[in-house]
Each structure stands twice: as structure tokens, then as C-alpha cells.
Symmetry: C2
Subunit: 411 residues, 2 copies
């Protein structure tokens, strides 16, 4: 129970039939954390998950690449999707994982204070998001329609390449190639939320705001036009911007417009003929991408991904050149759907926490595009995601399993 030695890399997932639920959850988590699965290396873990799910006779299992999808067919009127990515960000001396006993100096003070006397699983993926994966695997076995009968049909999605570029995202690929695998009335993504609900997500667009000048030797600057000086008003408009708080379906989303990169100039003695300010607008789910672009560059600017520079005809950067770099839609939280309302009520009872707006972009937006209301709900602290000292107090596994079981089974 309190073995501090390194956990061996799992080649097979499973738990003893006589194990308690707590023991089964702990074993599953230790096994999948022991499987190295930094993005691009998900294969062995996907194999183990596929084998584990195949053993559950009530599930139909599909695989595309390193994404595994398993569905029940109980004939129930509604279907809930439980999704978790199985890749992690790169390790930072935090693989393989270890169980830490109470008092171990590797346990963070905030974790120890909130969970005194509790052992902690430490290592890459502990919060983002192998703890939620472990709970979902456990539920995939336990909610078998025989020993435990859920109120909804269920689809489990374990997917690859969430931590890297969107083009590699396994959930995106399955949605595009096998849309019939991903259907349902509600989806839960197990991103770490400390077992609270975080709903929807801001959208994001990125673009260059561009000024042009005329190059000249800096000893004869008046022969040229300084493009960097012309960028002063771009930065003035950015500096004057006040982040807006926007209420959508009862949740508050904070927007933001920020320069993230700036570049200009060709040499230390040359009047610069171009300056580019890379701007990121994070917009609330009350806006479409088109709405967001209209606010930044005017509705008829004409700048699209890959079509070069266009002059902003209106909006915050009216009069400057615009070149689009990236765009991802927002997702409404869907907190007005009956399933979301009942889940939020239960989470409030168990944790005292009200739903919060998700500010970063997450895969809930993919479900939103499909018309499936989705929320983030997972074990572990979002503040520890990607950190060197990622860790999970063991009781969070049972808490998440409790909440999901109670909500999926009770009517």
C-alpha cells in the first residue's frame, strides 16, 4: 500500500476481482501512469487500454490510430460520452511515477494541507489527465448494466495527441473519420478541475497587425518612413484595452486582447520598413469567430487563414494591415441542458462548488461543434498540469468515481 519504490511500467491493465474500489482505482492509475505516453508515444498505452476494454463484454470497441472508443448498447434513450486524452506533455524528471507516503518532502505543502495523512501519486500525468482516465476505465468495467445499471448509454473515448498541435488531435481525427462513433446527448471531458465543473470555453483568434514604412540608412532617416514608430498606435490601442467580463448561460468569461510577439527591422542602421505585432484575442462564447474578427478588423476586412495581408476596415485595428494566423471557435457552456443542470446540482452537493467558466480552449469546443453540450470535470488540480511536481492525493479518485457513478446511475 505504501510502496515508495518506482512503479514498474505497465504492459497490461487490470485489478484483482477481490480488490476494493479504492484499491482498483489506485492500481489502474499506477498502471497507466507507469506507461510512458508523451505525445507521439501513446501506442503501448492505447494497446493496453484497448485490451482492457475488449475484456468487458458489454462494450463495443473501436480503434482509430491510437484513439480507442468503447460504447454500451443498453438501448437507453440518452447517451453520455466520457472522454480523456492519454498523452502527456514531456517528462521533467517526473517519470516513472512514485507513491509518496504522508510526510514525504516531495508532497506539495498545499496538497498536504488539504489532504493530511493521505498518500499521493507523484509523476507525469498525475493530474493531466491520467487520474480521470483511471476513473473512466474503472467505470467502463463497473457500469456493466448487470451488476450496476446506468441510466444512460455510455461512450468512452481515450484519445491521443491532445497536448500538441490540433492537426494531430486524436479526438478531432475520430470525429472527422468516424462521426458515428461520437454521438450523444452530453459529454464530460476529464481535464483536471479538482472535481468541479468548468463549462464551455473562450474562442481564440491570432493575427499579425502590420505597419509598413520605407527603408533608408538611419543616418538619413528622413529619406525613409519608420514602420516601428507607426506601430505606436497599435500598442496604444492594446494598452488601453480593458478585459471584458461576459456572462454566458450563467457563467462569467473573461476576454483578453494581447500582443504576444512583436518584430520589426532589418539592421541596426536601417530605418525599418515593416513591423508586425502578433495579437491574440480570446473571446467569450457569446461570439462566433466572425463576430470576433469584426471587433478586431471589421466585418468586411477579408483576411482569412492563408490569404495574406488585408487592411482592417474597422474594429480595434482599423487602418492597419492584418494577416490571419489561427482561429478556434468558442463553446457555449451548455449549462442550461437538463443533464448539465443535474450534474451541477450533484457536484455542488458533493464539493460545494458552483460551475465555473473554462477560459482556455479545450476539446469541449469539438463537442460544441457537433451540437453536444460538454463540460470539463476531472480529478486533480488544474494548477499542477504540466508542472514538474504534478501529483494527486489518492482520495480524489474515489471522489470523482463517486460523483460520476451517482450521476450516471441515479434517476
Amino acid at each position: 500500500m505504501t510502496d515508495e519504490l518506482a512503479i514498474q511500467t505497465a504492459t497490461e491493465l487490470g485489478f484483482d476481482a477481490s480488490a476494493t474500489r479504492e484499491q482498483a482505482l489506485a492500481d489502474l492509475l499506477a498502471q497507466i501512469m507507469g506507461a510512458y505516453s508523451v505525445s507521439d508515444n501513446e501506442g503501448p498505452l492505447a494497446d493496453a487500454i484497448e485490451q482492457f476494454l475488449h475484456k468487458q463484454s458489454h462494450l463495443t470497441v473501436h480503434r482509430h490510430g491510437d484513439t480507442v472508443v468503447a460504447s454500451t448498447s443498453f438501448g437507453l434513450p440518452q447517451r453520455v460520452i466520457l472522454a480523456g486524452h492519454i498523452d502527456t506533455v514531456p517528462v521533467i524528471d517526473n517519470f516513472p511515477p512514485r507513491w509518496l507516503n504522508p510526510g514525504d518532502p516531495l508532497i506539495r505543502e498545499d496538497v498536504a494541507a488539504a489532504h493530511p495523512g493521505e498518500r499521493v501519486l507523484w509523476g507525469r500525468g498525475a493530474t493531466d489527465m491520467k487520474s480521470s482516465d483511471a476513473v473512466m476505465l474503472y467505470l467502463a468495467a463497473a457500469l456493466d448494466g448487470e451488476h450496476v445499471a446506468p441510466a444512460y448509454d455510455l461512450t468512452y473515448v481515450f484519445y491521443d495527441h491532445e497536448e500538441v498541435a490540433a492537426e494531430k488531435n486524436g479526438l478531432r481525427k475520430v470525429v472527422e473519420t468516424h462521426p458515428d462513433w461520437i454521438t450523444g446527448n452530453f459529454a464530460i471531458i476529464g481535464e483536471p478541475t479538482d472535481c468541479g465543473i468548468e463549462g464551455g470555453c473562450n474562442g481564440t483568434i491570432r493575427f499579425d497587425v502590420i505597419t509598413h514604412g520605407v527603408a533608408a540608412h538611419s543616418a538619413r532617416a528622413w529619406m525613409g518612413v519608420n514602420a516601428i514608430h507607426k506601430a505606436a498606435d497599435i500598442l496604444n490601442r492594446l494598452a488601453a484595452y480593458q478585459p471584458a467580463d461576459v456572462l454566458v448561460d450563467g457563467l462569467v468569461y473573461r476576454e483578453g486582447v494581447n500582443a504576444t510577439l512583436i518584430s520589426g527591422g532589418k539592421g541596426t542602421n536601417v530605418i525599418p520598413d515593416e513591423c508586425r505585432v502578433h495579437v491574440n484575442y480570446r473571446f467569450a462564447p457569446d461570439k462566433t469567430i466572425a463576430d470576433a474578427k469584426a471587433l478586431m478588423m471589421g466585418a468586411d476586412c477579408g483576411a482569412e487563414l492563408g490569404n495574406g495581408e488585408h487592411e482592417a476596415t474597422g474594429g480595434m485595428f482599423a487602418g492597419f494591415g492584418i494577416e490571419m494566423a489561427d482561429e478556434s471557435p468558442s463553446a457555449r457552456p451548455g449549462m442550461d441542458s437538463p443533464l448539465a443542470v443535474s450534474l451541477a446540482k450533484l457536484v455542488k452537493e458533493r464539493t460545494g462548488r458552483d460551475p465555473l467558466a473554462k477560459l482556455g480552449w479545450t476539446d469541449v469546443a469539438r463537442f460544441a461543434i457537433l451540437g453536444i453540450p460538454a463540460v470539463n470535470l476531472g480529478a486533480g488540480s488544474p494548477l499542477l498540469a504540466h508542472k514538474h511536481d504534478e501529483q494527486l492525493p489518492e482520495s480524489e479518485l474515489a471522489l470523482l468515481a463517486d460523483i460520476l457513478t451517482q450521476w450516471l446511475v441515479a434517476r
Copy 2:
């Protein structure tokens, strides 16, 4: 006389004893232009110049690296230095040189219009500055104190590595290693000025103006502080700057403060924690480097080359971080010295041109540091320097030789 064939590479410099002055000047120019001497390749041309000067029995010849210095010892009360660099910028299909006859389409329209019916020497170095070098070589032979007696002792400096980094500059090296070779009451540098006088030069300092912020994910921008937004006021101050015209010793110098480079940010989704604006201040010769720095960053800022970032305590960028990158002093035009006055009077008579301020930094500043008044006066158009179609109408050689001979000989 009108041979358009490529001129053969010179291995020896000289002209026929029976040649006219015009023929001697043309031969010398064709010979030294035929010697390839892009910076780092000055050796063979320096050898030929050294041999040519050694043949003049009235000269004492020294050599340091590829810089050749030759001096008279007539025992006259004043000494004038004539200096020219022998290197060129890289060739652009303009080597070897060619004589062009009137009507040749390679002759620029502006040159043909100003010099109708005149042949033109075309190729790398024609104006910058082998034409002036040819005139100085001719004078080195002709002003021998016997057939022609100059009014001043003379020192000729033919130096290497002017077109590249200052650390390689041959004049700088000789001044540092053999300061006794470079003494005098007045100096003329043969940089192309169309046979006008350009005096003094602006000084230049370059430095980074720096803002600091706090990095954060751009989805939670309010957790950070945006260093690029903080740079707005740097650009505002630059954009508001009006170039000052400063009168020094009768010549007008235009100053300038310009951003030449800007950079900031670490990623498209990260609030930037630093922004750097690279600023170039070109200041008139009424100011020292210390004066210039006081105007930009306050007199007691403390920023020096290589000592990192210091906060500006005053001046244009008060309150921002400063890191020094480069500094070169200005040079007063010295137009109030009696030698400069008499030279300017003669140039005005011969060309109708008043002295102008030199705005870029040139080697006259090296003489200014030594306390030697110096001006630029040379054959050829400064606008053709470094161009592909560098070329010189032949009569400019005689014009420059005339002006210098008359001034150096007449009392």
C-alpha cells in the same frame, strides 16, 4: 584612349614620363581599379602602391598590415594629410572595370547629361574611392618639392578595411600602433563628394530600450503583465520626436532618433515578459557621447557598453531599462580653421559649391579624436557608392587634381 575591352589586372602602378596629366590620372585609375581589392583582399594593391611610393625619392614610406603611409620632409611649418581607403565593397558583376565611350548604354543618364561627350570609367570602386586614390597617388609623385613645391609637408595614407567593421579599419590600427605616422594640421579624406567639401560628421549611439513584464498563458492574461503593451510609450516618444537641425561651425547637421529593431515575446500564446526596442541616436557635432547619452537616458544612468541593463534616470527614455550596444563620437567640421577656410574658398570658386555637413559617420572622426581638423573631399558621386553601376566621368580626376594642387601649392 577609347578601348572598351576589359582592363588587365594591374601588377605594377605607373605612368609614362611623357604622359599628359590627364593621361597619367586615367592610367593610374584604370590600374588600381583593375586590382581586385574587396575588403580582406587588399594585399596585392597595397604591395603595388608601396612599390610606386618607394620609387618617389622625396617620400618616406611606412607600412602596417595593408596600410601604406608616405610622408615628405620638406621642413615646412604645417603638414596636410591626404587619406584614402583602398578596399571596396563586394563586386556585383562590376569587375573588372571598363572604359565606356560616349553613347554607351551603360553610362547613366544623369552622368551623360552632366558630362556630354566624355568617356567614363565604369566598375567597382570608380567613385568609392579609387578615383580619389588615383589623384592622391599622382600628387604623391608630382608634388616632389623640386619640379613642384608644395606649401605644406604632406602625408599620404592609403588604408585597408574601411568598408567593414571598425575593428578591422587600417587607419584606426595605424593611429593606435604608430601615432607618430599620423600627425598634421589638417586632413582630407577622399570619400566621394563630387569634389565638394563635406565636413565633420554626426556621432551615433545605439542602445536597447527595455520593458519587463510577467509571463502567463494568454488565456489568463490578467495573471501576467504584458511587456509589449508597456512599450507603447517608448514608441510614442519616438513617434513624437522631431528631427533637430543643429548649426555647428556654419554647417547644418540633422539629428535623428529612430527605432531600428524591435523584438519581444516567447510564444504565440504567452504574455510577453520582455520587449526590446533598439534605438539609434544620430547626434550633431556640438555634442559629445556623454551629452548624447544624457539626452536619451539621463546623465547618471550608468549604462556603458558591456555592463548590462540600467534604468534611464532622465532624458527621452526616462524610466525604461537601457542597455548600450554601440557608440561613436561626432566630429566637428573644423571649418573655422584657416586651412579649411582657404580650401572652402577655392572649392567654391571652382565648383560653385558651399561646404555641406556630412551626416553619416566617416573616418574624419578619427582625425577629430586626434585633434586634427578634417573634411571629406573626393571625386565621384556619393550617390553611386556601393551601387552596381558605379562610374566616374573622366574629367572629375583632373578637377580634383586641379583643386588639390592649387590649394597645396598656392599661397
